[in-house]
């Protein structure tokens, strides 16, 4: 195993603790549980599909995944600094960009592991309930886009400040949920809206497609946008590891 894989493995083990995973998975599984409960009633496939999309978007993609991603991303390097274990990572003959990239991969991986369970369960339940097995494509793509976006942009912020999680939550609830929703022109600055553009592209005709603002539906474009965000975050994290105090 090389140094990069070793960093990814240890960071994942730090981020994916048993208690945290149980909490996160329960949180991310709410849409699946709601659809499962609703499917025992007399709702038809169309209404169940609508319920699935509304809860997956409204709970999983707007709240659960961003919060989980922010917690993971701010902890990826931030926890090393806060728990004074940074010397075990930073005082090694490894390029700084490589440390930054490895921790970002771990951050995104930790979030995707929760998303995989949440989206996968929902997909499975909704697939059985509606008989439409393509129903989970949009949520899966949106979850990937969100995990990459939130999971990388908050890594350097976690390294630079102790209040990174609070900053992340303020960004999420103030900027994304309020300003970017209210002002259509601000939608492209919101990672949540970029993820939504991927969702709507693969699951057209949804009510919440109106929330896109000035963004056009497009899964490929959304993926490219968050990869650019990830590259900028990588450069910023590398700079911070090189230039800022690490203890």
């Amino acid at each position: 195993m090389n140094a990069q894989l070793a960093i990814i493995r240890v960071t994942l083990r730090r981020l994916i603790t048993r208690k945290r995973m149980i909490g996160f998975i329960l949180f991310a599984s709410i849409p699946a549980l709601v659809v499962l409960f609703a499917s025992t009633g007399d709702r038809g496939p169309e209404r169940l599909a609508e319920l699935y999309h509304n809860t997956t978007f409204g709970i999983l993609l707007v709240v659960a995944l961003p919060v989980i991603a922010i917690v993971n991303a701010t902890g990826a390097l931030g926890d090393e600094r806060r728990s004074h274990t940074m010397p075990f990572l930073a005082l090694k003959p490894i390029p700084r960009w490589s440390i930054a990239l490895s921790t970002m991969v771990a951050s995104v991986g930790a979030t995707l592991s929760v998303a995989f369970v949440g989206v996968g369960l929902g997909w499975l339940v909704a697939g059985f309930a509606t008989g439409r097995w393509d129903i989970g494509q949009g949520p899966a793509m949106a979850a990937l886009v969100a995990a990459i976006g939130y999971g990388t942009i908050f890594v350097p912020i976690g390294l630079l400040t102790r209040r990174a999680t609070v900053i992340g939550l303020i960004y999420l609830f103030l900027w994304e949920s309020s300003f970017a929703n209210a002002v259509a022109a601000l939608a492209p600055t919101s990672l949540g809206h970029i993820a939504l553009s991927a969702y709507v592209d693969l699951a057209p005709g949804l009510d919440f497609a109106d929330s896109l603002g000035t963004l056009e539906p497009g899964a490929g474009k959304a993926l490219i946008k968050v990869l650019v965000v990830a590259l900028v975050s990588l450069a910023f994290t590398t700079w911070a590891l090189n230039k800022r105090d690490l203890a």
Binding site: A3, V10, R13, S83, P87, A90, L91, P93, K243
Partner: protein
């Protein structure tokens, strides 16, 4: 600015200062470190940890330069393949076993056989029996030894140890001290910080003393001892006839002053050894019963403050 020089230095600090806002943690320190064990001595809060963090590149100096094998560790990360730091904080990756932790460090150091190197390093610090136990269940002393094993796993040329004996029991302390001495004898640069003089005395060939972020004294341990022998000592003596003993003591020129406080004498002496030799005879001839003799104000901080302010 004081310069602490050594032959063939591997680590060179030139005019290094570091301040945090208004607080100056390290002030204009120039020093060189070479093969052998160097003790970085000073009371708590003297700036030792900050200096070691600057030295390793964990934090930037506000002023001055750091050179490790001729390179600045903050701009050339390849020097970390030849350095190891045992940090003062007891935090480790508590979710890993001791073996996993040491092997992880070996992998990051690109050691060819990380698991074999980890086993050897753990054996060196006597942790083989508990190698598969999680670090979360380790005592402070065991964690300390695991950190030492992780630091030594790639056989570094420079080993920097920040209060490495904290939390260890006397047996472990003797064992670790022996390891550090051996590394120094092998020609490695070993820098050990401590606030305990006798700890450093046991292992260091050379001592750099810090007080209030400044370099207070430097030299061999005997030279530092000699410098400290001039310090007037405050000694407390409890006896049944304090006034009579005080009268007898003040006649000697090695007694600088005497205060009487109920059944106690507080003596300021320039020659504690002379006092120690004379006291039993005086007590016997005057038929005085002495119940207690204790040095007062003998903390390392006061000794260093004397070294800084008294010259």
């Amino acid at each position: 600015m004081t310069m602490a020089a050594t032959a063939s230095p591997t680590v060179v600090l030139q005019g290094v200062s570091r301040w945090f806002g208004q607080k100056v943690a390290v002030s204009e320190i120039s020093a060189e470190f070479g093969a052998g064990v160097t003790g970085l001595l000073g009371p708590n809060g003297a700036g030792k940890t900050t200096l070691l963090r600057v030295l390793t590149g964990l934090i930037r100096p506000s002023e001055g330069t750091v050179s490790v094998f001729g390179f600045d560790p903050r701009s050339d990360y390849s020097v970390y393949g030849r350095i190891a730091l045992v940090p003062e904080d007891e935090n480790v990756y508590s979710f890993l076993s001791a073996h996993e932790f040491v092997a992880h460090n070996a992998r990051l150091q690109k050691v060819a056989d990380p698991d074999g190197a980890a086993r050897r390093a753990l054996d060196m610090v006597d942790l083989t029996d508990v190698a598969d136990r999680k670090l979360a269940g380790f005592s402070k002393g065991m964690r300390q030894r695991a950190k030492v094993a992780a630091a030594l796993v790639h056989e570094p040329d420079i080993v920097i140890l920040d209060e490495p004996l904290n939390g260890t029991d006397p047996v472990q302390r003797a064992h670790l001290t022996r390891i550090f001495i051996d590394m120094g004898r092998q020609g490695r640069t070993v820098i050990v910080s401590s606030h305990v003089l006798h700890e450093v005395e046991r292992m260091a060939d050379r001592v750099i003393a810090m007080v209030d972020g400044r370099l207070a004294a430097t030299g061999t341990v005997p030279a530092l001892r000699a410098a400290m022998s001039d310090i007037p000592l405050q000694i407390r003596i409890d006896c049944d006839q304090p006034r009579r003993l005080a009268a007898a003591l003040v006649e000697n020129d090695w007694v600088g002053g005497v205060n009487i406080e109920e059944a106690s004498l507080h003596i300021r002496s320039l020659d504690a050894e002379q006092l120690g030799r004379a006291l039993p005879g005086l007590a016997q001839s005057l038929d005085i019963r002495i119940t207690r003799v204790d040095p007062e104000d003998e903390s390392l901080e006061s000794v260093f403050r004397y070294l800084v302010e008294g010259r």
